[in-house]
Amino acid sequence: MLSDLMDSWIPVALSQDLPAATVMPVLAPAGPLALWRSRSGRATASADRCPHRGMRLSHGFVRGEALSCIYHGWSYSQAGTCLRIPAHPGLAPPETIRVATHPVAEAGGIIWVAVGEPAAEPPRLDGLVPLRSLTAEAELSTIEAAAGATAGPDGLVWQAPNAPAVRLLLVPQRAGETLIHVLVPDGCATSERIAASRAVESLRRTAEERQRKGSRHAA
């Protein structure tokens, strides 16, 4: 499974969940990232740690085209260079002060972060639109078992009763936790979208129950 991650794209968030001038924490194989969108709309994935005193940058704030740390206001460009240190307004910050950034691609309402050097663009998920993201306390394999389906390179196709067929993009997080991006066919009515959301919540309950029972029986 890990080898699948080499030189690929990880879907970390939905575009709708990252409006302009906001930042949110996401997890990639490289580690925790601060995913942020500038005032002009450009998405950037920076390492989620300010090199000054180690504060999480995902707690920071976006002004213009820069991300600032909440602790002392140090601000960083989309390239990761430090632009300003408010305690020393006249100082041009040394180039050694920087945060690592990772390539980001945004397509079809999904934000992807590169792992390694992917040869191609992220997968196109034609005919599908994002619905919402949710997190399950269950392993990816447990979710597959609950859904009775296997996840392929374009996600997991699942048909719930009384709901449209959904596509789930499953992204392992920390041990025992999986991020689920839910996609539905383009053109679904509001009632169908809500039904899809509730169906996936049911699936999550089933998967988590399986996970809890499974871990109790584990050697």
Binding site: H52, I70, Y71, P89, I97
Partner: protein, 281 residues
């Protein structure tokens, strides 16, 4: 062993005013301890095996040690000055290294961002140069001639003022701040942070104050200080790594951070590493 060099220090373990004969269970550096009022009205501290530990009562708090303190608890002469209001602020638990808690207390560059419109405000973010030294005789870290513009420096301040500060670290998990006293120019208000290390990444913080302020009700004084500390707490719980790095490389200081640089150097010199990490680890 991270605890070794710090085992003989005094640490705060409770508020004297809240002690009763039933007592309370707490901890020091991973060891359970019990703090109670004896039948004689004196504070007593015992470890998990019932062994009596050293006790002293000072600055409103009960202090104890897992080892054998070689000297008395540090002195704060202002605590005995007549006319001072002595304020027990009350304990707050924080999931962070006790050393990170102290270092945050020594920092002023965060005022405009974390204590916005109280201790600092944009665009007044510049930190002017100040003086830092390790005073060899007392073996304490001192920062003096620190200045910062503050919209509401204290409950007793009626508007924005440029506040003068001095910082003092007399023990690895204690810090004392001396700041401009609006009602009595020429005197210093004293605000302290006494930190009880429960584990390397968990501490109980006991703030205490000795102020000149005849106007403000006690509860307001308590609330002001709790407000300031609570604003820092969500920072402290989100710093990575949890343990304070004592070697350069992981974190980059600037001139504004001189006090914290001196503090980290002083900790390393003494091998005060409970709550810290070194490069080799």
């Amino acid at each position: 062993m991270p605890r070794e060099a710090m085992i003989d220090e005094w640490y705060p373990v409770g508020l004297f005013s809240q002690l009763d004969q039933t007592g309370r269970r707490t901890a020091l550096m991973g060891e359970p301890i019990d703090v109670a009022l004896g039948a004689d009205g004196k504070a007593k501290v015992t470890d998990g095996n019932g062994r009596a530990l050293p006790v002293t009562v000072r600055y409103g708090h009960v202090w104890s040690s897992l080892g054998e303190p070689g000297k008395d608890l540090f002195a704060i002469p202002e605590a005995d000055q007549p006319g001072r209001r002595l304020v027990d602020v009350g304990v707050v638990r924080v999931r962070c290294s006790p050393l990170r808690a102290v270092e945050n207390f020594l920092d002023i560059a965060h005022f405009p961002f974390v204590h916005t419109d109280i201790l600092g405000a944009e665009p007044h973010t510049e930190v002017q140069n100040y003086k830092v030294e390790i005073r060899e005789d007392e073996d304490e870290v001192w920062a003096t001639q620190v200045q910062f513009y503050q919209p509401q420096a204290a409950k007793s301040a009626s508007g924005g003022i440029t506040t003068e500060y001095m910082y003092r670290v007399p023990a690895p998990t204690c810090s004392i701040l001396y700041k401009t006293c609006p009602p009595r120019p020429g005197e210093w208000d004293v605000i302290t942070l006494f930190v009880q290390p429960l584990a390397e990444d968990l501490c109980d913080v006991w703030p205490w104050m000795a102020l000149y302020d005849d106007e403000t009700p006690m509860t307001d004084l308590i609330h002001f200080q709790q407000m300031i500390f609570l604003q820092d707490r969500s920072i402290l719980e989100n710093q990575i790594p949890a343990l304070l790095p004592l070697d350069p490389g992981m974190e980059i200081p600037t001139r504004a951070d001189q006090t914290s640089v001196a503090y980290r150097r002083w900790l390393k010199r003494h091998n005060y590493t409970y709550g810290a990490q070194l490069v080799a680890q």
